[in-house]
């Protein structure tokens, strides 16, 4: 089965690439590892006129320690290389864990960090071939006017943001460098995602994520993912939990949940409880009890929403307990 018709470009430099993206406009599609782009092209969810490859842009393949102690990672770095990078393993082990938890070895050998951050949102309806989808009414993503996942009066696509590394990167306060022809901006990754399955990221068609910068972190930090098969499957739920201090003592806590909704979720109530009471068994239990109410709408994908909510509670309790003993 051939891919849908398009024009494939392989720019030789970053500048050439930005110009190609500008020319292509809204009909352009960046491809890095291709593991999600080709998947979506086969399902005819992506129907680009121009596909611009960034796989060979050496400008986007460096990992550098900056003078202020931050680590700057090129968006086209392969996940396999990052997972094996000794600086990342040493300084940001939770981020390493999130990279290793993406898909399978085969896919990580092709996939890039930028592609993982910009991963298209997904749902059980759009995760099927065009022929299969034709048996049902079109949804927002397929030029229709409904969402099959959550039916409400709200005109919103509820597809899940199912990507693993952003969860850890948000907890690490990482920043994204975004470039287009003639302009560059920096955005905290925490502000990059929108709570909407279609406009799920703040990125214009002519823009490219070029780098991810992680500031130094001396806090305790854990990433954990729950999936049906550990070796390849997408998350049913994932978490990054971060806190300062030692043992039960802490006054700065951050809890980020992934793969439950259209964007990663920051849990404020649970974090506040731990910040005021510390990582005691009682406070951890109390924090876990607030999770369900704090999640908002949860999209069912790979399991029912009620189960996902239960998993979220378990992940929060487990990681907080783990942080206490770190």
């Amino acid at each position: 089965m051939l891919l849908p018709q398009h024009n494939y470009l392989q720019p030789a430099s970053l500048n050439e690439c930005l110009m190609a993206l500008q020319d292509a406009g809204e009909f352009g599609q960046i491809v890095a590892g291709g593991t999600d782009v080709i998947f979506n092209m086969r399902l005819k969810l992506f129907r680009p006129k121009t596909v611009v490859s960034i796989r060979r842009l050496t400008e986007l393949m460096q990992v550098e320690e900056l003078p202020d102690g931050s680590l700057r990672i090129g968006a086209a770095c392969r996940l396999t290389d990052l997972a094996e990078n000794p600086i990342i393993n040493d300084r940001f082990p939770a981020f390493s864990e999130s990279i290793r938890s993406v898909a399978s070895t085969h896919i990580r050998n092709m996939a890039t960090l930028g592609g993982n951050i910009c991963l298209q949102t997904r749902c059980w309806f759009t995760n099927n071939s065009q022929q299969w989808r034709q048996g049902k009414e079109s949804c927002f993503k397929t030029d229709g006017d409904i969402c099959h996942v959550i039916k409400s009066s709200e005109k919103k696509c509820h597809a899940i943001n199912n990507s693993d590394t952003p969860v850890a990167l948000i907890a690490l306060n990482a920043e994204l460098t975004i470039q287009k022809s003639g302009a560059k901006r920096v955005l905290p990754i925490a502000d990059f995602f929108n709570d909407d399955g279609i406009e799920f990221m703040k990125l214009c068609p002519d823009e490219l994520v070029t780098h991810v910068t992680i500031p130094p972190c001396n806090d305790r930090l854990i990433f954990s993912k729950y999936a049906a098969r550990k070796g390849i499957d997408f998350s049913i739920g994932s978490i990054a939990a971060r806190c300062n201090g030692e043992g039960e003592q802490t006054d700065k806590v951050s809890l980020i949940l992934g793969s439950l909704s259209t964007a990663p979720i920051k849990l404020t109530k649970a974090a506040e409880i731990i910040q005021t009471k510390g990582l005691t068994d009682g406070a951890i239990e109390q924090a876990a009890d607030t999770v369900r109410g704090d999640l908002g709408e949860v999209t069912n994908l790979y399991s029912r929403a009620v189960y996902k909510k239960q998993i979220a509670r378990v992940l929060v309790k487990r990681t907080l307990t783990h942080l206490k003993n770190m």
């Binding site: 051939l2 291709g34 086969r42 490859s53 070895t105 085969h106 092709m110």
Partner: protein, 164 residues
């Protein structure tokens, strides 16, 4: 869009091919080059039967990558493992430890296993599991396959280093 010329080395042989934007690496391996050992399964990254090696001997999925992306590169397919008619140690292990039944997944499973051995000649259980998680076998199951991988170094020691 008109076809473009690429040069691709497959199993040590150089091919000059006219390739369209719509073809994946899998498409050209099977249809243009005519090496049909590499199988077409899900074509969405979930089964691993299309696994080939990049120049570094790592497992990659030929169904999820544009053929044009592989201009000037070198790959190995299942046909490239034997040398002068003698099977590679990993292939012998699959035979000796009965690690295949219908054989449909076998090229992808063997290439994935070989990638594990390339990186870890005597792999741990964890390294085998991580390297093999991306391929599915529906009939043999994975127990025999893992046994074959675990014992490949013994066959290599017995018969010497052969193949790619």
């Amino acid at each position: 869009m008109a076809k473009q010329q690429i040069s691709l080395t497959v199993n040590g042989d150089l091919y000059e091919l006219l390739v369209s934007d719509q073809q994946t690496l899998l498409d050209i391996i099977r249809t243009e080059i005519g090496l049909t050992g590499t199988k077409r399964g899900c074509t969405t990254g979930a089964c691993g039967v299309c696994t080939v090696h990049n120049a570094d001997g790592e497992a990659v999925l030929s169904c999820l990558t544009h053929a044009l992306e592989w201009d000037q590169e070198s790959i190995t397919t299942i046909e490239g493992l034997e040398s002068d008619g003698e099977l590679d140690a990993i292939q012998k292990a699959f035979v000796e430890y009965h690690a295949l039944q219908c054989g449909f997944c076998t090229p992808g499973v063997v290439m994935s296993a070989k990638a594990v051995i390339n990186k870890y000649p005597e792999p741990t259980e964890e390294q085998i599991n991580a390297g093999m998680a991306g391929v599915l076998c529906r009939c043999t199951g994975h127990i025999k396959v893992k046994e074959a991988i675990r014992n490949t170094h013994k066959i290599r020691a017995r018969d010497g280093v052969k193949g790619a």
